[in-house]
Symmetry: C2
Subunit: 563 residues, 2 copies
């Protein structure tokens, strides 16, 4: 066989509803095959599947079945092999990324507790998905105790630990299901668990540990055991008792070779290097070509993650986290976010688009979303007469308050659906500008933006609104799944130069990342009008978001007590 | 022929989109025939009909063709005669009511200027409908000059003269079309013009003059000519030059007998007494059985008029007007209002109800509005988690500000259409409570409410929300068209006792008005929850409505400059 034929890397992105495997050429990042496998149990919010645990799940629960993750390996990987015709020997490494914080209790050998008949009907034995929001009281207590003790992690997390994160979910299990806590040998991020399944040994990654589990590299790791004891007596030694050997491995390094068992499951070659696990949005950053400070990477999906690299650590209002080496070795990586973006537009399409729009879209041979996009882009800034606070799922950055809600002002009898749609897009863009401002006010320069993510497949042209609102140029990643491509790039670095890979993520990005030729540039007149609207937005943002008028919380309280 | 067979009165209600004639039995108010005639030109907002004046009408214009009013006489009256089999000799009088202020320029003989080829293509020669809102700058100047001069009419109009009213519209004509002003022999309310068409002579009524044209009975009539001169030099002698002989006639008296020409047009008997004209909402008050202080009459349609009778004159915040004898002789009559009610629900149904609701309604054999009504009534107060300011068409009372707009707060990803619908109904109910509060704070007692109007045909059960919000019992008028029945009652009084009619509107109401057996009573628990929501409503109402945050005006400005 010829020596110099192309080498490939496999990237697997574990999302909220499915896993996607792609096969990318190492030399240029071209995706030669791709397959999506949907989780058969999806997101479990009402009842456990198969008649287990008959009762309804508590409010705000969101679980998953780890079996679905294994099914992605078993189905999507053989599919891309077959689709591409690439042989296992030409795949130099495997990389994965995962939603986060998605975590689960397991036995010493990695078996999820929910696979065992004894625990299968206990909801706390299942994987708690990132959007499992029930541990808000636990998060509140973590914040209270953390503040009282002056814990450093609060500074790194913008002043607030989220109900979505690792120790909130774990504390919920201690309190609500102590028997599950006792029975678990470990609690582990799904991103680390899937790597364990591939290489047969545990290798926890620094990305999820840093962003979700209070692990601070420059402070020697996790908080002191006194802090955990203050949370709950059982947690005093949680680090030693339930977090494996506590070693944390840097991303884009090898966690080991593919195990015999995993090779049999997937059709890949035993011993193929597997990269340390990472978070999906964070993996997308180098895949968007962002490897230096000054360029904000936005991953647009149901929600938005904003990531920024910098040489220094600054205190930035309302960021989700800042982690040294969290995305690229040698740089501080900041994460901020908006709790809903595509989700708001989906909500609008499902709940507020009238029959007349469906008829008109059909007449023009467009989908409803396409029609709304086109019509709304025909409006000049300000022409809809509307302004919205896009807090349909609360506010992540910069207010970090899940109890805020959506607001629309300016409606008249002549307001039309596409005008509201435009206002919702603008609300999301204003939310992004607020994050840009938070970074720049903290002294972190942002010159331009790069966007990736699944929302762009539906309505990339809406980025013009983001450009006009932020006054910045926006480039678009040229990949249908930037996270999966990022995972593949992690693999290429984990494989190492000797095996035909790259010496660093920055080098991998230079070869494998691509942005589209089309660039969105701000129009001066539009930006000036948006400056006026943004001043109004900021005033509403502060009035409703910073406590002057807590009506949103009052409405949630009344709703909860009526229900 | 038998002497004692039943006597009838004819009531004709000229609404926004159509005119409705009813034939009512004098003895008990039973409606024996009814016919609706739609205006063929409807509301003219885009272009004059029949290719006249090719250019687009200015923004916020709303015109009508007086020919349509005559067509109501020509079509609806013969229709009710035929339908009922009642002979013209058994109709003892005719009464009319009209939208207001709807006004038009005419010649000495009553011919509308827009009937003349010379003026037909000039928009200012047409009837300016009540919702012709373009003369806002003129209204602003009237208010400014009125305030500077301490004019009494401002006190009677709650501190503000509206762009909808007579002299705002007339001043617009002077300024924008002086040639039309010069050519007109008179400017007249449509309610007075239609009576002129019936009796062949001009008889201006005290209701429209009092509520819309600054005529104050206890101050000797209209403002001084100095005031009009200050508005515009041409207006110095407007009262003498353009308002006929200035005599004002009390409502529920005879304006004269039906002319030969009108009798030929309608099939009625020449000489049949015709009552002086009046405003539609005001005519509805006795038809709802309200003839004494202490009971608030609400006429629910596209907008809401609230009317209250009292023995004394008080200063009430944000009322539209208070006129002595304006509704019932011997009492002060207060009018307040909400600029949109049914219009908001119609807007919602047309612009924001998704396909899924249509499918579900159809499955249950319901109209969309019925489905929304039922589903939304299934919610407990507070359960929707939403709160709205129902200013989709600005705010009439108590803020009197047409530039305010609608607001919705509390939306989440799980908010459903019927929950928004309920929030809009509640917003309208909160607006009514604000008006109730304004009256009671001024010392005018309100014990209970009576509702009439076309909105109730669609969704009377929503009155339970009004009852729970206001904490007051609500009765419902038992008539499909209370205004038309009120006009018929005016006729019965104008006919006089000798002709088989009544001596007063109060007496007519005792016999002819009817309320339904069903009464809406406030539920204590619901009222208490609504008190909490109302406190939140008031805070938003004052914040956005009283200048603390003028974002609604800023949005309108930006919209206007973008358009």
């Amino acid at each position: 066989m010829a020596m110099n034929h192309a080498k490939y890397v496999l990237g697997i992105d574990f999302g909220t509803f499915n896993g996607q495997a792609i096969l990318a050429r190492v030399s240029d990042g071209a995706v030669v095959a791709s397959d999506v496998h949907y989780y058969s149990s999806g997101v479990i919010t009402e009842k456990l599947p198969n008649g287990l645990g008959n009762s309804k799940l508590p409010s705000r629960f969101a679980l998953q079945d780890p079996r679905d993750y294994l099914d992605v390996l078993k189905n999507a990987i053989p599919a891309v092999l077959q689709q591409s015709g690439v042989g296992p020997q030409d795949i130099i490494a495997i990389g994965t990324d995962f939603t986060s914080c998605t975590m689960l209790p397991v036995q010493t050998d990695g078996t999820p507790l929910c696979f065992m008949p004894k625990w299968r009907s206990n909801p706390h034995a299942w994987a708690k998905l990132w959007k499992h929001h029930s541990p808000q009281p636990q998060a509140d207590r973590i914040n209270e105790i953390g503040r009282r003790r002056g814990e450093e992690f609060l500074k790194r997390y913008g002043g607030r630990y989220s109900s979505e994160w690792f120790f909130a979910k774990l504390l919920e299990t201690v309190e609500k299901a102590p028997e599950v806590y006792d029975a678990a040998d470990e609690f582990i991020e799904a991103s680390d668990w899937i790597v364990w399944q591939l290489v047969g040994r545990q290798r926890r990654g620094n990305c999820a540990a840093g962003y979700k589990a209070m692990w601070i590299k420059d402070r020697g790791g996790y908080p002191h055991y006194d802090f955990f004891k203050a949370l709950h007596p059982k947690l005093e030694h949680v680090l030693d008792e339930k977090l494996g050997r506590l070693n944390i491995y840097p991303l884009a390094t090898s966690a080991g070779g593919l195990s015999h068992r995993a090779a049999a499951l997937t059709g890949l070659k035993e011993g193929t290097p597997v990269a340390v696990g990472t978070i999906n949005a964070h993996a997308a950053v180098p895949a968007c070509g962002v490897t230096e400070p000054g360029r904000l990477c936005m991953v647009l999906g149901p929600s938005i993650c904003h990531m920024l690299l910098a040489r220094e650590r600054r205190e930035v209002e309302g960021i989700c986290g800042v982690v040294e080496d969290g995305i690229l070795p040698g740089l501080w990586a900041y994460e901020a976010g908006q709790a809903a973006a595509g989700d708001i537009l989906t909500w609008f399409c499902e709940n507020a688009v009238p029959v007349s729009v469906h008829a008109e879209a059909e007449r023009q041979g467009l989908s409803v979303a396409q029609w709304l996009e086109r019509q709304s882009l025909g409006l000049r800034p300000g022409q809809n007469g509307l302004l919205a606070l896009g807090w349909w799922n609360g506010n992540r950055s910069v207010l970090m308050d899940a109890d805020l809600s959506g607001l629309l002002v300016g409606a008249t009898l002549s307001t039309r659906p596409h005008e509201i749609f435009r206002a919702l897009v603008e609300a999301v863009a204003f939310g992004t500008r607020k994050i840009v401002d938070a970074f720049t006010h903290a002294g972190l320069e942002i010159n331009d933006l790069v966007a990736g993510g699944c929302l762009l497949e539906k309505c990339a042209s809406l980025l013009q609104v983001f450009s006009d609102v932020t006054g910045r140029t926006i480039r678009v990643a040229d990949s249908a799944n930037t996270a999966a491509l990022g995972a593949a790039m992690h693999a290429a670095v984990a494989a190492g130069k000797a095996a035909g890979g790259y010496g660093s993520l920055a080098e991998a990005a230079r070869h494998m990342a691509r942005v589209q030729a089309e660039v969105y540039r701000p129009h001066r007149a539009a930006h000036e009008t948006y400056n006026q609207l943004y001043a109004e937005y900021e005033r509403l943002h502060d009035y409703f978001g910073r406590g002057a008028n807590p009506v949103m919380k009052a409405l949630k309280r009344l709703r909860d007590s009526a229900a």
